[in-house]
Symmetry: C2
């Protein structure tokens, strides 16, 4: 009835095909999305039979989820560690150093054809076109990272209440995700005559822009009109 039981490691060869399918699926699902990628596209790229997908993963939808899950854990932990490392520095980092580290850790996976890049494609797509079970992506990835970011931002010397922290992280992530889009569209932008989009230049701007923004939010308490400036 249900042939999906995840054996996948009886022989090294079997494990190999299992891995090849997962690899091809991550690549193709990330590039073209769930519907636009056929099972035959994947098995062709993985150089195996069509039935192998159902044998190893029990169906296309489950393969999509497993492709995502296989990347999610390592990437989430990597970013968690990145933030922990930032907070563990001997002299506490300035807000600018914190933001620089955050941005580089966020955008670094984009530069080469790495696991992180594939995952980013997945994430971009999933955010605007949910295909995973409700809450899965949010609970397993987004929320832990936001929580960690909020609490790490808390120790960087800028006094923010929880709501302010959340909104500041929201603004930071919004900018960085948009930079991901800009990076993906860079070729097209330049092809049609737009200004070249450079990640390096953007990070400089991002740090300056966001540091001032965060400080402005911190210094805003009860006074209705906000003024920038006022740090040590």
């Amino acid at each position: 009835m249900s042939p999906r039981r995840h054996p996948c490691d009886d022989t090294p060869e079997a494990r190999e095909t299992h891995e090849r399918i997962l690899d091809a699926a991550q690549k193709l699902f990330g590039e073209k999305g769930l519907e636009a990628t056929s099972v035959r596209d994947i098995t062709a790229a993985a150089d195996c039979n069509v039935a192998a997908v159902n044998y190893h993963f029990g169906g296309k939808e489950n393969l999509y989820l497993e492709s995502f899950r296989a990347m999610l854990g390592p990437l989430r932990d990597q970013r968690m560690a990145m933030m922990d490392e930032l907070m563990a520095r001997k002299p506490a980092p300035t807000l600018e150093e914190y933001l620089t580290g955050f941005a580089e850790g966020f955008l670094e996976p984009l530069v080469d054809e790495s696991l992180g890049r594939r995952f980013m494609l997945f994430v971009s797509r999933e955010i605007s076109d949910q295909k995973l079970p409700t809450g899965f992506f949010l609970d397993e990835f987004i929320r832990p990272l936001i929580d960690r970011a909020v609490s790490s931002l808390d120790r960087v010397g800028v006094p923010l209440n929880p709501e302010q922290s959340f909104y500041c992280i929201f603004s930071v992530i919004g900018q960085l995700l948009h930079a991901v889009k800009g990076h993906h569209m860079a070729a097209e932008i330049e092809a049609t005559g737009g200004p070249p989009f450079e990640l390096k230049g953007f990070v400089d701007h991002f740090v300056r822009f966001s540091a001032a923004g965060i400080r402005a939010c911190a210094s805003h308490e009860t006074t209705p009109t906000a003024n920038a400036g006022g740090e040590s």
Copy 2:
């Protein structure tokens, strides 16, 4: 050979079906995307025959493009006008007023089931999963708006060079697009126990955050370390 010739207005009835198909297509394409929406889904929603899509639009892909095009012009012009109106105010608006108007004009279409909301769904999807001809969306919508935004920001009293203006607009739009996502995911976020995402509260934060960020970028000339503050 090619039955698509856009007659579409010989009889009032014909024009009506034409419109019904376009309406259903905008709704469904925006909600589920190109591949996940079948021609039969559309014709069922439009209450007409399957062949009508090919008769009136010459195929599914062309219908997708036409659905987008029909929204693009009005929405772009509306936002252009919004920015023009902002700039034409008798006393020149402050940066905060400018940002408030910009954010409200950007997010306003989200509140109800309007043309703007449909278009936003389309845009979100298209940004992370391009289905339209290369450059079309960029040239017809994104670039004109960015250009207008850059030049309008130029007259609000904050001295920015072109590169700084571009990056600031980039940061602003990144935050607002992410707010769109947050708004779309609001139900899901709250269902899983997250903090409620309120557009109103976000706009307040956004204005404070971005005004400080923009001023920081403006005051940054040759000094490597940027300090916020310093407006009139």
